[in-house]
Assembly symmetry: C2
Homo-oligomer: 497 residues x 2
C-alpha cells in the first residue's frame, strides 16, 4: 500500500466517528456476502454511547440486500437505524421493523440502484464498501458481492473502505462493474451470454473521496452447506422431471440458464442437478451464487455462473481460494441492476425457481409478509426473475409450523406475484402447471396437485362457497371468507378447522 | 391483384366454413384497431346455425388485445368462444366471462405472443388478419395495429386475410414487423429511440398458407374524440405540474417518452400537453396511439409516436389519409412484444400513465377486476409499463358510481400492481408521491392526498384499527376488516357507512 493510502488507514472506531446523525449510508453486501463488518459494529457502539448521553443518532441504511449481524443486527439493536431498504434477513432488525420502530421499504432488488441513481430515492452521502483491493489512484475491487456498490461509490460524497484480506487476491478479476447508462441516452446492455462482461473488474473513484481505510480479515457469516431435507429433495426432483418433460415436448430448448432463489429448496435443485448422471452442463444466471454451485463444479457440470453475490462458508472459501485460477473463469459477479435486469433475464430465457411463503388457489404468490402485516425477509429479486423468465417455478412445502399452516390459501395476505405472471407451483404434494389456465381451472389444479390433503376440503369448501356467492364467476372469490384460514391461525394457532 | 391471389378471393361466409370446431384462432386487432370484421361475423352466424342443428362449434380466440363488436361481440353472442385471451372490452363477451360461460385468461399484453411462440400457450392453427395489402409472393401489410399478428402469421397452418381498402395505401410504411429472437440465442432489440425500426414494414409468409382473401371496406369502430371532462382535466393538470416540479428538482431529464393508457384521463393529459404553451415537444412510446395524438400534431408538438395500435374515429381516419405522407414519418406501429417490452421501456426511460380501477392505502393497484370476481377489461399493458418505467402514475377519479364507491380502499380485491412498484397515485383530490415511503407513511399520504373527503374517516378508522390489532406493525393490516367497504357496497349499494 502506498503512503497516501497508508495515511488514510484508521481504526473502525475512528471511521465511525466520521458519520453524522441523519446521514444516508450506502453499504456493500448482498445476502450476507461482502458486507462491511468492522465499521457498522463500531458505529452501533458509537450510537449506543450517544443515546446513553441523551443524544440522537440514527442513519438511513441502503444496501444491496441483507447484510450480516455485524451490520444489520448490531445497528438495529443499537436503535441506530431510522430507515432501511431494500431487503433484510436479520432477526433483530426484522423484529424492530415489525414492532414499527424502523421504517422499512421493501423493493425489487434489481431496481433499487436505478431508483437511487434517478433520484427516486435519496442519494447516500457516505458509502461503506468492503473491498479486497484499493489503489492510490482510486481503483476499488470488491469482495464477495457487487450489489449496489458501484452506484453508492459513484454518488456518495465520502467513501469508507473496509479492506478485507481474507480472500487475498483470489477474487481478483471475478467482478464486472458495468452499469447500464441512464435514460434518455442509453444503449443495450452488452450481455447476451451468461459470462459476458460489459465493464472493468474494478470501480474507479476519485481518490479524494476515500476518507478512511479500515483493515479487516473476517469472513462472511455463512453457515456451511447442509444436505437437503426430504421435502426439498422431493420438490427438486419434481422440477427436474418437469423440465425433462418440457424438453421432450419441444417446449424448452437446451442450454437455458437457471436462476435459483436463496434457501434449502433452491439448493436441493442444484444438488440434484449435480448428482443426476443425465444432467447436461448447467449455466446459472442468478442473483446469489449459493454454495451448491460447488457441487456442480466438482461434478464438472457448470458452464458458468453469473450473480451479484457469492455466499461461501469457511470451507467453501478455502476451496475457492485453492482453485481460484480455474474458478475465476467460471464466475462473474455483476451489479444487481444487471444480474436482475429485465432486459438480460428475458433475453437469456432464464428458468427461474423461487421460494414462496404462501400461494393462493388463484395463482397469486406471497414472498414477503406473514399474515399480511409482518415482513419476513422481503420480495428480493424474485419478481425481477419471475416476471421476465421463460419458465418460472414457485416452490414451497405444502405446510409450515408442523402442519398448523397451509401454504396454499384462499387468498394471499400480501401479493408479490400476480396470477398474470406465475407459471408453475410445486410443493412436496405435486406440481401445478398454471400456464394459460382460467382462474377456476387454476384453483382446481392447485388444490388437487399442491395442497396438503389435510387442507384440501377446506380449500374446496371455500371455492364452492365462492362459486355460489361471489358476484362474478370469472374469479369466484368470496370476500367475506377470504382470510378465514389466516384469522383462525391468528386466533387458535392453527389453520385447521 | 395477381391472378393467383384473385383465385383465393372468397366471401366471408365461405372463409368461415374453413374453420373447424375446436380450433385455436389467432386474430389481428388491438383495442378496436385493425381487427378482422367480416369473417368473425360470418363465423358467428355459422356457429349459430350449427348450434341450432344441435352441433357443437366453439373456438379459442387469441388476439392482440380487445377487438370490436363484429368479432368479440358477435362470437360471444353466438356462444362460439370457448377460451379467450389475453384482453377484451366488449360488454357481451365480458358478461359471458363473468357468468362463467367462457374461459378467459387475462395476460400481460407484452408477453402474450412470447408465450405462444415458446409453447407456454397453444399455437393458433388459423390466423385471421386484417391487411391493407397482400402480394402473390406472400407479403402482408397490416392496417391500424400490429398486435400479435406477426407471431400468429408465422405459427398458423392457414391464413385468412381480410383485405380492407378503407385506408388505401395511407398506412403503407408505418409498421415495423420486427420480432425479438427467441432464447437461447438472442441479441438486443435494436430500438434505442422512439422511431427506431428493427425489421421490415411487411410480414413475409409462405403464400401457400394463405387460404382465403376476403375483401372489406370498413373502418374500426372507434368513437370520436370528445373533450375531456373536468375530473380528467384536473388529473391531467396535476400530472403536468408534478412533471415540471420533478424537472426543476433535476430528477427528470428532458426528452423522456410518454406511455398513456387507454381512456379519458390519458387523453386529457395528452390534450393538456398539446394546449400548454410551455410544453416541449413530446415523444410517445406507448401501446395504443389514441386520437389525442392529433392534437399534439396540430400543435406541432409531436416528435414521434411508437405503439402497436392507432385508434382513429372516422374523422381522424380522414385526417390521417389526407396527411399520410407527413404522418407516416411520425408513427411506428410495432408488434406488442416490442411496444411493451421491458427491455425497451426501461432503456428509453418511459414516463407511464395508467388508469386504476381501485388503489389501496398501502400502494397496491387493481386494474382489472370489480370486487375481485368480475373482470372489467383486463390488466392490458399497464404492468408492462408500470414495472419498467422511469416514473409511473396511476390515475383514477376518487369515487365512482356517483360517490357510492371509493376508488381508494383498505385493500384491493384483485392485485395487479404491487406496492413494490407503484410510484405515484393521482385523483382529482390530489397526488401522492409514494416513492421510498414505508407502508404506514404511504397509507397516511394516500388517504390525505387522494381519497375523497367523504371516505377519509372510514379509511383512517381502518388504519387505526389495524395499528391496534394487526400482528405486525410493518404493514398494519387488519385481515378481519380488509374488505368491509366492498362487502357494504355489495350488500347496500354503497361503500358509505
Amino acid at each position: 500500500m502506498t503512503s497516501d493510502l497508508v495515511s488514510k488507514e484508521i481504526s473502525a472506531e475512528e471511521a465511525a466517528e466520521l458519520i453524522q446523525d441523519g446521514e444516508v449510508l450506502g453499504v456493500s453486501g448482498f445476502t450476507l456476502a461482502g458486507y462491511p463488518k468492522a465499521v457498522p459494529t463500531a458505529l452501533a457502539k458509537r450510537a449506543e454511547r450517544l443515546h446513553a448521553n441523551g443524544k440522537p443518532f440514527q442513519i438511513t441504511l441502503f444496501s444491496g440486500a441483507s447484510t450480516g449481524d455485524e451490520c444489520d443486527g448490531a445497528l438495529a439493536r443499537a436503535k441506530a437505524i431510522k430507515w432501511r431498504a431494500p431487503y433484510q434477513s436479520n432477526p433483530d432488525l426484522r423484529s424492530a421493523i415489525n414492532r414499527g420502530e424502523i421504517f422499512y421499504t421493501d423493493a425489487h432488488l434489481g431496481i433499487m440502484g436505478h431508483l437511487v441513481r434517478t433520484g427516486s430515492l435519496p442519494r447516500p452521502t457516505t458509502a461503506i464498501i468492503e473491498a479486497s483491493e484499493v489503489t492510490s489512484d482510486g481503483k476499488i475491487r470488491f469482495t464477495t458481492s457487487c450489489g449496489n456498490s458501484v452506484e453508492y461509490l459513484r454518488m456518495a460524497d465520502r467513501i469508507i473502505v473496509e479492506l478485507n484480506s481474507i480472500y487475498g487476491d483470489a477474487l481478483c478479476g471475478i467482478h464486472d462493474c458495468y452499469l447500464p447508462e441512464l435514460p434518455p441516452y442509453t444503449h443495450p446492455i452488452p450481455v447476451v451470454n451468461v459470462l459476458d462482461r460489459g465493464g472493468k473488474d474494478y470501480v474507479q473513484v476519485d481518490p479524494k473521496k476515500i476518507v478512511a481505510i479500515v483493515r479487516t480479515n473476517q469472513g462472511d457469516t455463512i453457515r456451511p452447506f447442509t444436505e437437503p431435507d426430504a421435502v426439498s429433495k422431493n420438490i427438486g426432483g419434481q422440477i427436474l422431471e418437469f423440465l425433462a418433460h418440457e424438453r421432450k415436448k419441444g417446449r424448452l430448448p437446451a442450454g437455458l440458464p437457471y436462476q435459483s432463489g436463496v434457501g434449502n429448496v433452491a439448493n436441493a435443485v442444484l444438488t440434484a442437478m449435480a448428482r443426476d448422471s443425465l444432467q447436461e452442463p448447467v449455466s446459472l444466471f442468478t442473483e446469489v451464487i449459493q454454495e451448491a454451485v460447488f457441487e456442480l463444479i466438482k461434478a464438472d457440470k457448470l458452464v458458468g455462473a453469473s450473480g451479484t453475490a457469492l455466499t461461501c462458508s469457511a470451507d467453501a472459501r478455502e476451496y475457492f481460494k485453492q482453485n481460484a485460477a480455474t474458478l475465476q473463469k467460471k464466475f462473474v459477479l455483476r451489479s444487481q441492476e444487471v444480474s436482475n435486469h429485465p432486459e438480460v433475464i428475458r433475453r437469456l430465457g432464464v428458468i427461474s425457481m423461487n421460494t414462496a411463503l404462501e400461494c393462493d388457489i388463484f395463482g397469486n404468490v406471497n414472498s414477503s409478509h406473514v399474515c399480511g402485516s409482518s415482513i419476513m425477509n422481503g420480495i428480493g429479486g424474485s419478481a425481477d426473475f419471475s416476471r421476465n423468465c421463460l419458465l418460472g417455478f414457485f416452490m414451497a412445502p405444502s405446510t409450515a409450523k408442523n402442519g398448523a399452516i397451509s401454504t396454499i390459501v384462499p387468498f394471499v395476505t400480501h401479493l408479490d406475484h400476480s396470477d398474470h405472471e406465475t407459471h408453475i407451483f410445486v410443493t412436496e404434494q405435486g406440481l401445478a402447471d398454471l400456464r394459460g389456465l382460467d382462474p377456476v381451472s387454476r384453483a382446481h389444479k392447485i388444490i388437487e396437485n399442491c395442497a396438503h390433503p389435510d387442507y384440501r376440503q377446506q380449500l374446496n369448501d371455500f371455492l364452492d362457497y365462492s362459486m355460489r356467492s361471489s358476484k362474478g364467476k370469472h374469479i369466484p372469490f368470496a370476500l367475506d371468507r377470504a382470510f378465514n384460514m389466516h384469522l383462525d391461525f391468528l386466533e387458535k394457532g392453527t389453520m385447521k378447522e
